[in-house]
């Protein structure tokens, strides 16, 4: 069933990771990603892995949840591993073999890099509600408004999309059942047949999405929406002591990794 897909994947909780300002968490993820791409040696990877493990412990996110999220990426991970094993030159592990020691090392590092990258972003979405995330993003991108970049419009669109995903999924389920009751078949036939069979689902879905958008626009106007200008927020984001400490730690991590890189570690 479509309903079973977890979207937004926010796990409500009350850990320090949940309480951090979303802006802090967004910046930390950026710092972490930069650090990740600066890592060269085993020591650096070790430090980053430990950092992620520590963050997981702090935010009460189990390894199982992370694995669940990684599942759809398995193919890409495997491909990365295999390509690196076979296409890295160096000393063969056995004379005459194409596989090299360097290849194995590189494969491990590349796979680790992707896993850490995904885990880092998961930690953000797992501990931050979609609304907080878009709010944080809007505030962080605020300076771009001076360049006439539509920051408010972009973030409100994001949060609307998040709001309507569950509604539209439910609707898709309903329309599919209704068409199945009229004998539509979504499960057999060639790829082309199946794509065609989706038309009776997609057309009503689009029609309804447009109708919803129309009604939503009227409802928003009725509630005095007139763009981002002069808007206030009920939940104000205020950076607290813990946010500054977390940011300092993030910067320290990046500096450390860059330092290690200098020494080739």
């Amino acid at each position: 069933m479509l309903k079973d897909i977890t979207l937004g994947q926010f796990f409500p909780g009350d850990t320090i990771a949940h309480r951090l300002d979303p802006r802090t968490k967004l910046l930390l993820v950026v710092l972490f990603i930069v650090a990740l791409f600066q890592a060269r040696g085993w020591v650096a990877y070790g430090v980053l892995t430990l950092t992620v493990a520590a963050c997981m412990t702090v935010s009460h996110i189990s390894a199982r949840n992370i694995f669940k999220g990684l599942k759809p990426m398995i193919f890409i991970l495997a491909l990365t591993g295999v390509l690196n094993i076979f296409y890295t030159g160096g000393t063969p592990i056995l004379p005459g073999w194409i596989i090299t020691w360097e290849g194995i090392a590189r494969a491990i590092q590349m796979v680790l890099r992707i896993v850490l990258l995904i885990t880092g972003t998961f930690l953000l979405t797992y501990t931050t509600s979609p609304i907080a995330l878009t709010d944080g993003l809007e505030l962080l991108l605020n300076p771009l408004k001076k360049l006439r970049f539509p920051v408010h419009e972009m973030t409100i669109m994001m949060s609307m999309a998040l709001r309507f995903i569950p509604t539209l999924i439910e609707e898709t389920d309903k329309i599919m059942s209704a068409q199945k009751a009229r004998g539509a078949d979504f499960e057999t036939g060639s790829l082309m047949d199946r794509a065609k069979a989706l038309l009776p689902v997609l057309v009503p879905l689009f029609v309804s999405a447009f109708r919803r958008a129309d009604e939503l626009a009227v409802a928003m106007e009725s509630r005095c929406y007139h763009g981002g200008e002069g808007r206030t927020r009920m939940k104000q984001l205020i950076l607290k002591g813990r946010d500054y400490i977390a940011l300092a730690l993030g910067i320290l991590l990046l500096a450390g990794i860059i330092y290690l890189k200098k020494w080739g570690l």
């Binding site: 309903k174 329309i175 209704a178 009751a181 009229r182 004998g183 539509a184 078949d185 009776p200 029609v207």
Partner: protein, 286 residues
């Protein structure tokens, strides 16, 4: 023949997770060919889950549904065939219209049944006739029409499959009184002409009381009452206690009885109530 036999039917959502809930349980019913059945129950009482078992859209967690003597979940083929035999019209069916023209939309079902062109054409015209959709509308886009018309076209799309059993979930929801009456009249006409079984799920007790020969009441996933309108609505207080409405005439009869008027049990239409009161007056005068 499409007699429906339901045995020990049970359906569980989210089986094997902590959220496991039994939506319906222990349902045993026999619905003979040609009966007009009303199903009532509040939201979440299991009635929607139940009707989706009638054409194998949902598979039972336990128990069996037979239609015309055949277990409908026996094979992939039986699950497909039952959809031709049991037509299911969902709530707000107008939201599933998708073709460019009214004609093509009504033809979608028969086309999926792989019928011949002539057969499809004949069925589309017949189905449109049942719901009072004129042929001038055939080449129009369904999206241009009024709400009531769209609803009737969507129902025609199911009728065109000539189901021996027609099931409708809240067919009158959101329509004004004139629209409601027209849809119900269309459905009754279909049944009279074809001898099909009709099952209507509705919140509107007056509608159910007026047209159904038999009323089945769902509550918390079980059948709690099953009988004629007179039998079911004579238990008006019980219905009110499980959070359901009763027909307006029944509610008024209940109030009159509380005032001490000796009205007979099981009143559910205006005419019954009127004649019962007039009878009492007649007796008083004599």
């Amino acid at each position: 023949m499409s007699e429906i036999i339901v045995e020990k039917l049970r359906h569980v959502y989210s089986a094997g997770t902590p959220f496991e809930v039994a939506a319906i349980e222990d349902i045993d019913l026999v619905i003979p060919q040609g009966q007009l059945v009303g199903i009532i129950g509040h939201t979440g009482s299991g009635k929607s889950t139940f009707i989706q078992h009638m054409n194998a859209l949902l598979a039972p967690s336990a128990g069996k549904v037979c239609c015309g003597g055949q277990d409908i979940n026996e094979s992939k083929i039986s699950r497909r065939d039952v959809k031709h035999q049991v037509g299911l019209v969902f709530q707000y069916p107008e939201y599933q219209l998708f073709e460019e023209t009214v004609y093509k939309d009504i033809a979608f079902g028969p086309k999926n049944m792989k019928l011949s062109e002539e057969e499809i054409d004949q069925r589309v015209r017949e189905a449109a006739g049942f719901v009072g959709v004129e042929e001038e509308l055939f080449e129009k886009s369904p999206l241009e029409l009024s709400g009531g018309q769209k609803r009737r076209i969507a129902i025609a799309g199911v009728i065109a499959m000539r189901p021996g059993v027609l099931i409708l979930d809240e067919p009158t929801a959101g329509l004004d009184p004139a629209g409601c009456r027209q849809i119900l009249d269309n459905i009754c006409a279909y049944r009279e002409k074809t001898g099909a079984t009709v099952i209507i799920v509705s919140h509107n007790m007056d509608d159910v009381a007026r047209i159904a020969e038999r009323i089945i009441v769902f509550s918390h996933g079980r059948v709690v009452m099953d009988g004629s309108a007179g039998e079911v609505f004579s238990r008006a207080q019980e219905l009110i206690d499980i959070g359901l409405d009763v027909p307006h005439a029944t509610a008024l009869a209940l109030a009159l009885r509380k005032q001490g008027l000796q009205l007979p049990e099981g009143i559910y239409t205006h005419e019954q109530l009127l004649s019962a009161i007039l009878e009492i007056r007649g007796a008083a005068v004599c």
